[in-house]
Symmetry: C2
Subunit: 341 residues, 2 copies
């Protein structure tokens, strides 16, 4: 299940995706920061052998990508698609990505921890993502010597992940709450409840395209399923709020809203050069207009897809070459014009 697939998940007008990851390490080995190349190889072998056991459900379902064998653009593309972290993209010596496309799951080896089990679902489906990742975790845990402490739980390279080693996140598109200036309150409230709100695309890029990722901060002394239901709860509240504000904007400021979303569409359809930040912002407007029925020419899933397709690595992958910033702006504008034709 890729972020580029063309269906919308539950609450797909607001929730782009749900994501779960477990951080796991093997007790006999040093954490990735200190592990030797040989040690890392052994860890990789152990994980892969376990997945490929004769009685494994995962036999022949994972495809291995060694960071060493990829080029810069490919690695950046995996980062953009949230398949790997920027940290793994930099660990070209030891890093590996094991992908199971059918199940929407992947394993990062030798990122911050030995093993990161990840699972992605479209729309609001954190429990489904959790259950899928949990099955892989169970299988690996049954056969591998996980670093585990009776009192603390799973041991991880960074103390913030100790305990369940679980991070659950949902990616939300919140243009109306952003427009009305309600986001700061939301971020503060989420923080008080033990959740973090982050931007989605690119490090330090802020909340590009009005996309926000809400995730749990606390992993210690919380039950795994409780983390998932807590995220479901808070996401549900945010979704209700966003939907209510969208409706009230459509009701109270219909003309201004129409003006805004159509202007954004007009610029996207005619620009010859466009930076990522501006494009994300304008597509966010068109998504808002589409979800409210003001614009009817495009599907939400195609517009979500477009947001991923205008990222630098995707554009460069399509062009088959490294592009200068100006060239990217030009390619991006051309790609958008073609898509929205």
């Amino acid at each position: 299940m890729s972020i580029l697939s063309s269906e919308l998940g539950p609450h797909g007008d607001i929730v782009m995706s749900s994501r779960v990851r477990f951080a796991r390490n093997l007790a006999p080995y040093d954490f990735p920061q200190r592990i030797t190349i040989e040690g890392a190889k052994e860890v990789s072998q152990l994980v892969k052998k376990t997945l490929e056991k004769n009685d494994s459900d995962y036999k022949n379902t994972f495809h291995t990508i060694r960071m060493k064998k990829t080029d810069e653009i490919e690695r950046q593309l995996y980062v953009e698609e949230h398949m790997i972290s920027p940290a793994l993209a930099q660990n070209t010596e030891k890093g590996e990505l094991l992908i199971n496309k059918q199940k929407g799951c992947s394993l990062m080896l030798h990122e911050e921890d030995h093993i990161r089990i990840q699972c992605l679902r479209k729309g609001l489906q954190p429990m489904e993502a959790f259950l899928e990742a949990d099955r892989i975790d169970d299988w690996l845990g049954k056969h591998l010597p996980y670093a585990y402490d009776e009192r603390l739980g799973y041991l991880t390279a960074c103390p913030t992940n100790i305990g369940s080693g679980l991070r659950v996140s949902v990616m939300l598109h919140l243009p109306a709450l952003t427009m009305m200036g309600y986001l700061e309150d939301l971020i503060r409230a989420a923080g008080q409840l033990g959740f973090t709100v982050r931007g989605v695309f690119g490090e330090g890029s802020g909340y590009l395209g009005n996309l926000y990722q809400i995730s749990n901060q606390v992993t210690l002394n919380v039950k795994e399923q409780e983390i998932v239901t807590n995220i479901e709860d808070i996401a549900g509240k945010v979704i209700d709020r966003e939907r209510a504000v969208r409706k009230s904007v459509l009701c109270d400021q219909k003309l201004e809203l129409e003006d805004r979303v159509f202007r954004s569409l007009g610029i996207l359809k005619y620009a010859q050069l466009i930076k990522r930040k501006e494009a994300m912002h304008l597509i966010s407007d068109v998504i808002l207009g589409t979800s409210l029925g003001v614009i009817s020419a495009y599907s939400l899933s195609d517009l979500h897809k477009l947001m991923a397709q205008i990222q630098p690595a995707y554009l460069q992958k399509q062009s088959g070459t490294i592009l200068t910033e100006k060239e990217r702006e030009q390619k991006r504008a051309a790609f958008i014009r073609e898509t929205l034709k």
Copy 2:
């Protein structure tokens, strides 16, 4: 000949129009600020009788509009079309406008002076406009007691018009010079040569739509025809400069220019609300793109016309009613979308 006609004049890619006006007064009467209603009536009668004489070329060619009989929107429309001045629009008691559409000429009665003879031509044709206005002036001067002093020349209400009472102006569209920041130099240089540079639409509205009006400041001790040829000279230099800068921008910053003019077109084609200032600015970009062959869907004359059609009074005249600001923005956006379809 109206500003809304669909041909371009000479140098029509840069020069919108050329305009000439004579300020004249009748010696036996007080200037308009002091004249009685009866006196004003007599002046009007004298002028009209002269135009309607049996041996007059102007018999039955002028159509009279009394300010008293017009409503606010009509008067504003005449101002927008540069048929009357804002001053005449306010003189609803005595003011009259005599229009000769075929010859592109008009007379304002009881504006700042008893008689203002005006003539308008498309493109760069100040001499043609001058000759037309001069013929009317000759005819009136032959039969009416013009206020004239051997030493000073024609006497006018405001000392700045004394002498020839002649003002010649050309309206130029200078997007490239503006874009490159060369306008300040131009305005300074024009001032040193005795010319003023002003905005075109609306009082105090600045240089809306990159439109500039260059006119002579000095009327005393300058031969009439010299004023006209001086304006032709300076306009010619500005036209050459604007054209050269357009070409160099197209050559050096082609992509940025294309991006700019197409974005402007995109916004115009999709906006649902638009203020006059922004619309003028965006249409100016589309005119620039059209004159450089970057945009090919529209004619320059239609785009020039559009600039006049989005002014407040024109929109209200079309709607047949006074519009609020928001309604005007909506009508304007709709009119532009329809025109550029």
